[in-house]
């Protein structure tokens, strides 16, 4: 068994998902202890350009598979290829982002290789020679540490924004190894029939700033000031379940236990009481701001800064103050 670390570099339409670069940065750090190479696995169609990018972010070697069968992420051909590369090269670890695709690929490869996959890690550290992953459980009410003590490779999916993104260095050198897919199109059961992009730009899970509205916004038009604040900050728009269930905003925006788990640098909650299930999705945000007219709202227990007041006054004032300062 080798000491190399594989990182699966996820791309959608040629753009790499943020947690992949964070995983490469983490792999470099862990590689210092393990002493192996960081090998980026770049799969797709027309993605040659990403190989050099992966090297800039810290890969020593890139396994590049460029083929029409890999254009869209589909589990069957991606898992078959990654498992076959892992069988051939025996890495010690495989890392990937804990995105919807990574959360499918990691466990599928774990089954192929009869090994362990730790989901949704927020920390990865060596302790007494063993790699320990920290991960939230019970909706973030508790934390746990997990290891893959014996089986190899050990697979970990890393949560977006939980690990630092490395600075790319265009001067770095690395080796690009071309590899072929292992499945033919006619062997792949799943066919992608269409894609309908979510409108509203910034993806919640990648966003550095999120502005969310809850029942306190009072209706669909109540989201307008919240949206304006988000747009000034180039933030993603979030919502509580109460706002989603009321039909004021689509489910794609829901933050919380039954919505998205987010970890931005700044989370601004407007008219959200801060129920435990909402907290489950945002409690690891670095700085939390609450705007609520009820000084007893539980969100103030979690928030770092709060303004007690009517959001229809406070939010536009905040937007104006930001416009004045950020210009």
């Amino acid at each position: 068994m080798g000491n190399d670390i594989f990182v699966w570099v996820e791309q959608f339409r040629g753009e790499v998902a943020l947690p992949s670069w964070e995983a490469i940065g983490t792999a470099r750090r862990l590689g210092e202890t393990l002493g192996g190479q960081v090998c980026a696995c770049v799969f797709g169609s027309g993605v040659e350009g990403l190989a050099q990018e992966a090297i800039a972010y810290g890969a020593d070697k890139v396994f590049l598979a460029d083929d029409p069968t890999l254009a869209d992420f589909r589990l069957e051909p991606y898992a078959a290829l990654l498992s076959s590369l892992a069988r051939e090269h025996s890495p010690a670890l495989i890392l990937m982002g804990a995105t919807s695709r990574g959360r499918d690929l990691g466990p599928a490869v774990a089954v192929d290789l009869e090994t362990g996959c730790v989901a949704d890690c927020t920390g990865l550290e060596f302790e007494g020679g063993q790699l320990l992953a920290t991960r939230p459980i019970y909706a973030g009410k508790l934390l746990s540490t997990c290891a893959v003590p014996e089986k190899r490779p050990a697979i970990f999916t890393t949560r977006a924004r939980a690990f630092p993104k490395p600075e790319p260095d265009d001067g770095r050198a690395g080796e690009v190894v071309r590899v072929e897919p292992v499945m033919k199109e006619e062997e792949i059961g799943c066919k992608v029939t269409g894609f309908w992009e979510t409108e509203g730009g910034v993806s919640l899970t990648d966003a550095a700033i999120i502005v969310s509205g809850g029942r306190g916004v009072g209706g669909p038009e109540g989201f307008e000031p919240v949206r304006e604040l988000a747009s000034v900050l180039n933030a993603a728009l979030g919502a509580s379940r109460a706002a989603v269930d009321a039909g004021w905003i689509p489910y794609e925006h829901q933050v919380g236990q039954t919505g998205k788990t987010v970890s931005p640098d700044l989370y601004i909650a407007c008219g959200i009481s801060g129920a435990i299930q909402h907290q489950a999705g945002m409690r690891t945000s670095k700085v939390i701001v609450a705007i609520n007219k009820d000084p007893e709202a539980p969100i103030f227990q979690l928030a770092h800064y709060g303004i007690v007041g009517d959001l229809f006054k406070v939010v536009p004032a905040l937007t104006a103050a930001l416009k004045a300062r950020l210009e």
Partner: protein, 267 residues
């Protein structure tokens, strides 16, 4: 058509959790319920059953100790036809690798399965891996994050779904048999009816053991697992509550807040 729904029992999401030095988690008097995500999977199975005039059989399966009975009863009360509990003392301590092995063995034993439905993840361990692992083991089409089953053609052996990904919705067509991992938004789970609850109390809950499934001890429990849980602990407490920004006017409060956020370097 035979539809299987895999469900897990979990503590209530509102339960107050405590953890002792040894890492044992306790949720006091709070009841054990069906994993909330799995209700969507049960509902979807029942909707399909209704769409096909009641013909499809819906079997609900849970690998778990006695407590899992509560979750199975809930699913029967919602309208599932049959329940199977899978348990053996050797299954304790299984990670998703081992759990998926056991579930796949149980589904193989049923033989005639067209569709296996799952919840998005279990709210306790939060791994969200079992569905895709079962699909991989059985060679079934792996359809996760499904927010809509647009078409289902059991005769033609095909299914068309919409999946909810980070960037939007993806349409995927796949052959049957398939694994479908559901997400919230696919439906609105029904409450058990009074008749359903009566049915659930009288229903049979057979238990399939390791021997029934032909599962060896090396494939389950700690031996069959890849992941070991080392420690469970409460997250570090946040010191104090929010700093409430007080000012004469809203505009002034907003300016103070912007200064604080600039100082925190988050904007």
């Amino acid at each position: 058509m035979h539809i299987v729904v895999c469900i897990k029992q979990t503590p209530d999401s509102a339960a107050k959790l405590t953890v002792d030095e040894a890492g044992n988690v306790s949720w006091g008097e709070s009841p054990i319920i069906i994993n909330p995500w799995d209700e969507y999977a049960v509902e979807e199975a029942l909707l399909i059953k209704e769409r096909f005039g009641g013909e499809p059989k819906v079997t609900v399966v849970s690998m778990g100790p006695e407590e899992a009975l509560e979750a199975l009863k809930h699913a029967i009360a919602m309208g599932c036809d049959e329940a199977v509990r899978i348990w053996d003392d050797g299954f304790a301590g299984s990670d998703t690798l081992a759990t998926s092995y056991v579930l796949a063995k149980a589904i193989e034993r049923m033989g005639d399965v067209d569709l296996v439905l799952f919840g998005k993840s279990a709210i306790d361990s939060q791994t969200g891996q079992v569905a895709v692992e079962v699909a991989r083991r059985l060679g079934f089409a792996p359809l996760t994050y499904v927010i809509k089953i647009a078409e289902l053609d059991p005769e033609g052996g095909a299914i068309l779904v919409e999946r909810l990904l980070e960037e939007g919705r993806q349409g995927v067509e796949a052959p049957l048999p398939a694994v479908v991992g559901t997400v919230k938004g696919i439906n609105e789970p029904r409450y058990p009816s009074f008749m359903g609850i009566r049915k659930a109390t009288r229903a049979e809950y057979p238990v399939w053991t390791a021997a029934d499934l032909g599962v060896g001890p090396d494939k389950v429990g700690a031996a069959g697992s890849g992941v070991r849980w080392e420690r469970i602990f409460p997250p570090p407490a946040r010191e104090g509550a929010a700093e409430i920004i007080q000012a004469e006017t809203v505009e002034e409060a907003a300016r103070v807040l912007v200064d604080k956020l600039l100082a925190e370097k988050v904007i």
